[in-house]
């Protein structure tokens, strides 16, 4: 048996009291491929960030536990240190320069240079580049990966797969590379390219390089990994050898955690037979990283419809596309009337509202008061909080009405603030989220899209927000479409849940179905669930 390369012991990490990793243990042998799976937010990336010495870890108070790499205890303070010890990481987003060739990208800032006399005077940066030796280095790395990649092609002209190969080659071109971390490398690849990458991974492992492989495609994990770790809520919940693992076993472990849904009152009306409020047909949305390809859905009157799925599969694109924030196509009918796509004001005027997942970017006027934040949309769309003069020629802001409505929502949603004039920027994340919700509710919508309503907010605020959603659904009869990455959250609030994979609806189940069924849907197994 090969020697142990990496041993992480009792790793724990919390972000300001919010525990994201507890007591994680991990052992990796030389030449072994380790698969790491788990839902979004299970702690995979945090674990890898700790290993790779990313600055964000140290800035948020470091971590607990010990790491032993290549027989020595280590604690990296920067990714440079990790790189120097022989750990390479390929991140989800590309870190490439489009106007450089593959070679230039692979050896970026590690270019071979030719000695020049001037450098004696002004430092080594005035040495000229030795292009031949750079190319040799790059081709060597590409050969290690054994893929077809033109070393002289501009990265900007490459198909996505080749960009990924360039990225991996860059890590391989470093001297003494012992461990390679791949964060969802196949997410952007075509099937053919993914296969090529998988066989390269096997070849790398055979040559003695260990690989940590993070992916949502469970079949790939089974294909290449020697050992599989399933993470959930910051813990390793299951450790499997590839020999005795199955897709459904992994999926079940991933979502796990049965929640008590008995507290949820059953709806008096059966939502499935209620009239259709919104009909979505063949929707596509061009939202980077959340592309929607072809979604058809029916939303029934009075229900809370959940939309779930793993990150990057397109669930977030649906509300963003319908509400006109990203270019979209297809047909959306609301109460029998077709909604103009790519036209936010038409959507709002028809009685739709949207709480965006991007609070700072879309949801708030950070530098304006709560009054403005809450009243603005309703003022512009429904002509509320305005006083008319000169026969409607002058529409004057009615500050009293604005203060009054703001105060009402501050009370109703328990927004913690010093006054209604406070700037939105100075509120905590949870309270900002409530302000976003108040803004949408002030529109008094018939149908409300809520996207990731609990992302990045503390537990107390979470339950308040979810309760408020249910309350408005029950009391006002507002139809709600809630998009969330947290399946359990959806199951506790929604009536039905649609799962989106690869930009399409892969299945819709009632919320009381067992969670492993949803888990399977999420990883793309449509048939086995039934």
């Amino acid at each position: 048996m090969e020697a142990t390369l990496l041993e992480m012991k009792n790793i724990s990490k919390d972000f300001f009291g919010n525990t994201v990793l507890k007591d994680v243990n991990l052992t990796l042998k030389k030449g072994e491929v380790l698969g790491l799976v788990g839902e979004n937010g299970a702690g995979k990336s945090t674990l890898m960030k700790i290993l790779f010495g990313m600055k964000s870890i140290e800035e948020t108070g470091g971590y607990g536990g010990t790491i032993e790499f290549d027989g020595k205890p280590v604690a990296f303070h920067s990714s440079e240190e990790a790189l120097a010890s022989g750990i390479g990481m390929v991140h989800q987003e590309f870190s490439l320069l489009p106007e450089f060739t593959a070679t230039e990208n692979i050896v970026l800032n590690r270019e071979s240079t030719r000695y020049s006399v001037v450098s004696e005077l002004f430092g080594s940066r005035l040495n000229t580049l030795d292009r031949q030796s750079m190319q040799k280095k790059a081709i060597e790395a590409i050969n290690k990966l054994a893929v077809k990649l033109d070393s002289e092609m501009l990265v900007g002209d490459m198909p996505v797969g080749h960009k990924q190969f360039t990225e991996i080659s860059r890590e391989l071109s470093r001297d003494g590379m012992k461990l390679l971390i791949l964060d969802e490398p196949t997410a952007v690849l075509t099937e053919h390219e993914a296969l090529a990458l998988l066989s390269s991974i096997k070849r790398l492992a055979a040559s003695g390089i260990s690989v940590i492989f993070i992916t949502h495609r469970l079949a790939e994990i089974l294909e290449v990994c020697d050992q599989i770790l399933v993470m959930r809520d910051g813990c390793i919940v299951k450790q499997l050898d590839s020999g005795n693992a199955s897709v459904s076993g992994i999926a079940k472990a991933m979502v796990g955690r049965e929640v008590d849904t008995s507290s949820k009152k059953a709806k008096e009306v059966d939502v499935e037979t209620a009239p259709v409020e919104m009909e979505i047909k063949n929707l596509w949305v061009d939202m980077a990283g959340e592309t929607v390809k072809d979604v058809s859905l029916q939303v029934h009157k009075g229900e809370i419809l959940g939309i779930g799925g793993l990150a990057g599969q397109g669930k977030l694109g649906i509300p963003n596309g319908i509400m006109g924030l990203y270019p979209a196509g297809g047909t959306v009918t609301f109460r029998g009337k077709e909604i103009k796509l790519n036209n936010p004001s038409d959507c709002l005027a028809s009685g739709l509202a949207f709480v965006s997942e991007d609070r700072a970017g879309v949801g708030l006027l950070l530098d304006e008061s709560l009054e403005w934040n809450i009243s603005f949309s309703a003022m512009q769309v429904n002509n509320k909080f305005l006083k008319s003069y000169l026969g409607g020629l002058v529409k004057w802001r009615d500050e009293d009405a604005i203060r009054e409505v703001t105060q009402r929502y501050v009370d109703a949603l328990q927004i913690k603030c010093t006054s209604t004039r406070q700037k939105a920027r100075s509120l905590s994340g949870g309270n900002q989220q409530k302000v976003c919700l108040a803004k949408a509710l002030a529109l008094e919508p018939s149908l409300l899209f809520v996207s990731e309503p609990t992302r990045g907010i503390d537990i107390g605020a979470k339950s308040l927000v979810l309760q408020a959603l249910r309350r408005y659904n029950e009391q006002q009869g507002t139809t709600i479409v809630m998009i969330s990455s947290e399946l359990e959250e959806l199951r506790s609030v929604c009536d039905r849940i649609a799962i989106i994979t690869d930009g399409k609806v892969i299945g819709i189940r009632p919320a009381h179905c067992p969670s492993e069924e949803f888990g399977l849907l999420m990883v793309g197994h449509q048939g086995e669930g039934k």
Binding site: G361, G363, L364, D367, F376, K395
Partner: protein, 346 residues
């Protein structure tokens, strides 16, 4: 103490230094033998001359188009209105009114085109605005020569064609506002008419910002994506703001000319944007936030320095360094606003 620090932080060191500098000038002035009354009259006069042009910065800052370095475009519309009113033979008070009426279509047209252009170059507005201003001024240099003006007070004496570089407004709208209800107390003379006119425009601006459209404009500047998600048509709001800025620039130069007594053509409008830009910044505005108070305070501080430095400096060190100080203060202020970390480009 903490409160003090926060006040300084919000107000900004440069503004504090400038205000202190102006205050010290006023304190030193009597000892240097400079008459406070005349200086104050001068300051108020210049304030009333320049106020409207500084006000012209407000709409574009509010809608997120940044500092209007393209003010010369509005000035050109004003010059066209001013010269046409004289060409058509309107005199006295009527000529001023007609100048405003005649400059309006040009301001609307220029502003509309300029706004459309700025909508296509979001993020790079300020640099392009600067050069739109320059290009239009230099284009009009040719036009002033070629356009068939014929009023003998305006065209070159010899040749009989092409406008003069400076045209006197004597007999037309010379001092129509400044002399209206003018108050004289000893050395102090207050151009009430000009001040009232500025106050009227400032009030209208303030009122506009309190309407539905005005609220939308502020929101577009504060967070364009938020505004779009609330159903606002960002581009048309931005265009509206540019048109307003341009029109105010046009009226601003007319107010300036009636008080100054001369129309300055050709290269005159070239660098007129910079004093207005720095004045509003000195008043406490930033690249994307501005209020009417900023306009008033800024114009007063800026014009105060411009009037006080030459007289006080001259009598103390017998050297007129005012030009240098003006350049350093005004551009230093713009530089400060551009490099503040909190105001990075969105």
């Amino acid at each position: 103490m903490n409160k003090m620090q926060r006040f300084i932080k919000e107000f900004g060191w440069p503004r504090l230094i400038i205000a202190a500098f102006l205050l010290s000038l006023f304190v030193i002035a009597p000892f240097a033998g400079v008459n406070i009354g005349t200086s104050l009259t001068d300051t108020i006069m210049r304030f009333s001359m320049n106020g409207v042009m500084v006000l012209a910065m407000v709409p574009m800052i509010h809608s997120g188009c940044g500092l209007n370095f393209g003010l010369p475009l509005g000035i050109i519309a004003g010059l066209l209105g001013g010269t046409l009113a004289m060409q058509f033979g309107f005199t006295g008070k009527l000529s001023f009114l007609m100048a405003i009426v005649l400059c309006t279509p040009f301001a609307l047209l220029f502003g509309w085109a300029y706004g459309k252009l700025l909508n296509r170059v979001k993020g790079g507005e300020m640099m392009i605005a600067t050069y739109v201003g320059f290009a239009s001024v230099s284009f009009m240099c040719m036009m002033w020569l070629l356009l068939p003006y014929s009023n003998p007070q305006m065209v070159w004496g010899y040749g009989g064609s092409g406008l003069r570089t400076t045209i006197s407004t004597e007999g037309y709208y010379y001092h129509v506002l400044s002399d209206f209800l003018n108050i004289k107390i000893g050395h102090l003379s207050i151009p009430t008419g000009s001040l009232l006119f500025f106050a009227l425009l400032a009030f209208l601006m303030w009122a506009f910002l309190h309407t539905k459209k005005g609220t939308a404009m502020t929101a577009v500047g504060s967070n364009p994506i938020y505004a779009r998600a609330s159903g606002i048509k960002i581009d048309s709001i931005r265009t509206l703001s540019v048109i307003m800025s341009t029109w105010l620039g046009a009226v601003g130069i007319l107010v300036y000319e009636q008080a100054f007594g001369f129309i300055q053509l050709y290269n005159g409008p070239f660098y007129m944007a910079l004093p207005a830009v720095s004045a509003i910044l000195i008043g406490g505005a930033s690249v994307n936030k501005a209020s009417i108070t900023n306009v008033i305070v800024g114009t007063f501080l800026f014009q105060g320095i411009v009037t006080m430095t030459p007289s006080v400096m001259n009598s103390i060190i017998h050297t007129d360094m005012s030009e240098v100080i003006r350049i350093i203060v005004s551009n230093g202020m713009i530089l400060y606003a551009l490099t503040r970390k909190t105001e990075e480009t969105r």
